[in-house]
Symmetry: C2
Subunit: 227 residues, 2 copies
Amino acid sequence: MTEIDTRGRILDAAELLFTEQGFEATTLRQITGAAAVNLAAVNYHFGSKEALVREVFRRRLTWLNQQRLQELERLEAEAGGAPLKPSRILEVFFGAALKMAADTEGGGRTFMRLLGRTYTKPSEFVRGFLAEEYAAVIERFKAALIKSLPGVPAEEIFWRFHFMLGAMSYAISGADALHVVAPDAIDDGDPEALHARLMSFMLGGLRAPLPALRAKPAKPPRVSKAA
Amino acid sequence: MTEIDTRGRILDAAELLFTEQGFEATTLRQITGAAAVNLAAVNYHFGSKEALVREVFRRRLTWLNQQRLQELERLEAEAGGAPLKPSRILEVFFGAALKMAADTEGGGRTFMRLLGRTYTKPSEFVRGFLAEEYAAVIERFKAALIKSLPGVPAEEIFWRFHFMLGAMSYAISGADALHVVAPDAIDDGDPEALHARLMSFMLGGLRAPLPALRAKPAKPPRVSKAA
DNA sequence: GTCTATATCGGGATAGAC
DNA sequence: GTCTATCCCGATATAGAC
């Protein structure tokens, strides 16, 4: 059935196990066992466990981010210099992720759950790598959003983008986290419904009234005890 | 300076290391080293590494959730049966967490970062424990929100609550995650500003227009290939 | 390129003196 | 209640036959 080569089998097995257990808790023995390949194959094909981890991310992330950039560029070309609607921008960025997350068969769902979690706690050796993969995309989408929401300060947009990433991460990890708080699970199996729910939530958040921020002190947030 | 007993020193050190590295990657030797206690002390005081992990969560979580319940009950008593404003409810639930997260000195911040991440990927032996700790709180807040938003279906509220948890988690993990996507960091050091930003985002999301959901099929989402 | 066998290391846990 | 010393296991990685 799965007629792929050793290298691919290892990557698939690793992806799944990393998602279920994290890198640290996953052993090469588990991976090679699940992939039905020899223990030594990992070091032969990837050189080390860390290199394997990086490759698990790389093969999907570069593709995902390329999709996002292409879509955004297409929309911007269509608009011919006019700002895009926020909903369109979110649709491209998060839609790509949700689409991948909806791919239960091909392992996309597994990967997105892994990504969401890793993102919050990047082990030192993944952090630099992730930053590199994301740099271009974030820059472009941030710019598009700023242009799209002239009334909203760039800093606020950035934070809201960050919050949205969090919401998406939890949305995708759904089953994992929901069953903690929800005694009886709710659907979770309908990607389209999830997509619609998340988008409306995000748009609501993105367009919310600006928070009333107290004028921030130049630097010293705490007055010295001597008045 | 830190004049606390062995047990407390171990808990503090473990909390910090777990947050930085995860449980799996953290060794008892690191913990006892950082706490400046003997290696055998962990097993003496807690029985096992797993029990230590649970205790790290328990000591802060029960307190946090008690605070939430007390606050909510106080508000509900004040209102005398009338529904609460959504903003008040969110303020209680997330405010308690953010307040704890703002406590840089006492380790509250560290703990909340740990919690946010664990929540998405509960190791089997923590999941049951977390569910138990949360059951009562979630039930009460869910009920309050449903009462507070008569126009919104309970299922939608549940999802939005879930999204909000994700947003908060990322908000608190701020530095960790932001520096991945943001080449140059943004403030992140101002808890009050973060609080205000997050609240306005969440309220916007919670009150967003309902998503247009296609009537969901009874069960078979995929038609059989035989027409 | 795939296997077996093994080197080397560091993990959690415990026994038993103090 | 705290220490030292140690057991036992399973981890990554590699050497070398096939």
